[in-house]
């Protein structure tokens, strides 16, 4: 620890604490910095006080940054990275109210859990495979480097897991169920509700930019993946009801035209006319017409 300051430092001594705290400004700061740079005793004292003050910063609470923060930092750092599903998805915790644009009854939610925490647990070998695939996705496999079919398979698998193993086996190979058809093989889970998974192309004009999958269960789930879009940035997902308003489910981050997202919707799947992606100004970028 540094000792008493030399007498010639008396004039600047009162400023050293604020200098160490980083809150000294103006002429006082200029004088103090000039002195400290030339005085080893004061320099040592300021270093010690700064170190102690910096420890206080640990009092600040950790707060989840906004959706897409991580991706934006990586972009500025010039880092190639794989996005983490949960980092995007956990923002939409069903226990929390929707942010702007949403309304009660159209809740965003966390990624599906392979452990069946929010649905009956899948059983059997094929369901277990689906569970593993879903778990991998839910724990952050990004879309970079994934072929579209594979991504679709993983997302469908995640939907299947979430549906309690209603879907199985074939979805892992990317075999999507026919649109609008009950996709299910009989569930191993006794008491599982009948369900259907509809897969619809998400189009920007005539160009397919991804897919939307709607799980018609209780609740309804909307899964979105995009792998061929021309945009990067924060986008908004909406669903539109027949004779109803557009419901904003939440925002997600699209990086290099790729991204995946999921949310649950209180309305029955049959009441949903379309799912769409809009930008921050409300312009509709892509639409999936649901049956």
């Amino acid at each position: 620890m540094s000792g008493p300051l030399p007498p010639e430092c008396a004039g600047v001594a009162p400023s050293l604490v604020e200098l160490a705290l980083g809150v000294l400004a103006g002429e006082e700061r200029v004088r103090a910095v000039a002195h400290v740079e030339a005085c080893s005793a004061c320099s040592a004292l300021v270093s010690e006080l700064s170190a102690a003050a910096d420890e206080l910063l640990h009092l600040a609470p950790g707060v989840e940054p906004p959706v897409g923060f991580e991706a934006r930092v990586f972009e500025r750092l010039g880092v190639r990275h794989r996005s983490r599903g949960p980092a995007l998805l956990k923002r939409f915790d069903p226990a929390r109210p929707l942010s702007q644009g949403g309304r009660p009854g159209a809740e965003g939610a966390m990624a599906p859990r392979a452990e069946g925490a929010m649905g009956p647990r899948a059983e059997g070998a094929s369901a277990a495979r689906a569970a593993r695939a879903g778990a991998r996705w839910a724990h952050g496999i990004g879309l970079h480097g994934w072929r579209p079919l594979r991504v679709a398979g993983v997302l469908v698998a995640a939907a299947a897991v979430f549906a309690g193993g209603v879907l199985a086996g074939g979805v892992l190979a990317g075999h999507q169920p026919p649109s609008g058809q009950p996709s299910a093989q009989p569930s191993a889970q006794v008491g599982a509700a009948p369900s259907a998974l509809e897969t619809v192309a998400l189009r920007s004009g005539s160009e397919a930019v991804g897919s939307v999958m709607v799980y018609a269960g209780n609740p309804t789930w909307v899964f979105i993946y995009m792998d061929n879009a021309a945009w990067t940035g924060e986008l908004r997902c909406q669903v539109v009801e027949y004779q109803g308003p557009a419901l904003t489910l939440g925002e997600f981050w699209l990086s290099g035209g790729r991204g995946a997202w999921a949310a649950r919707v209180a309305e029955p799947a049959g009441r949903l006319k379309e799912a769409r992606i809009v930008d921050s100004r409300g312009h509709v970028l892509a639409v999936a017409h649901l049956s």
Binding site: A25, A52, L57, H58, A60, V63, V79
Partner: protein, 173 residues
């Protein structure tokens, strides 16, 4: 940027983003601005990583100090009116960490909270206002309705005492 560096950068950001953003948000109170500050902090950390001296403290503390300095720079420009930190901010600074907080950060918080508890309340409050929330002595004086000299004394004595407490703990551990 090399592959190894990229992995380190990704790990670092993911490890400390909650804490860095949380500090920025506590200081400026606006999420969009806090994000700008947090982003800039990570850029600076990464830019200066090669010269980081581990003997001067943990990398987490260093990153937080950079965040604090950036926020102070902003506040110095923008804070025309001195306002009392909200109850929410005080609660955030004094409540236990969230369960998923990193162990190293939880330990650091516990250590400093214990040291702070041994300091007279008026001094510890002035110290937190200055060191964590970026208030100058003049601002603390206005906020607390006390003479400038008293505000400076509280901060100074509080910080000196904190340094002693932390030194004692370092020596005995």
């Amino acid at each position: 940027m090399a592959v190894g560096d990229e992995q380190a950068a990704v790990s670092f950001v993911r490890r400390y983003q909650r804490k860095v953003f949380g500090l920025a948000l506590s200081m400026v109170g606006d999420p969009a601005l806090a994000e700008d500050i947090a982003q800039e902090a990570f850029l600076r950390v990464w830019k200066h990583a090669p010269v980081f001296d581990r003997r001067r403290g943990s990398v987490a503390t260093w990153a937080l100090a950079i965040t604090r300095n950036l926020a102070v720079d902003f506040l110095r420009l923008r804070r025309a009116v001195v306002t009392d930190p909200t109850d929410e901010i005080w609660a955030g600074l004094t409540s236990p960490q969230a369960p998923d907080e990193l162990a190293e950060l939880a330990e650091a918080k516990a250590r400093v909270a214990e040291a702070l508890a041994a300091i007279p309340p008026e001094q510890s409050r002035a110290l937190v206002l200055s060191a964590v929330l970026g208030y100058s002595a003049t601002e603390i004086s206005k906020l607390e309705g006390i003479p400038l000299g008293t505000a400076k004394t509280r901060v100074r004595r509080g910080l000196m005492k904190l340094r002693e407490m932390l030194d004692e703990r370092t020596t005995t551990s």
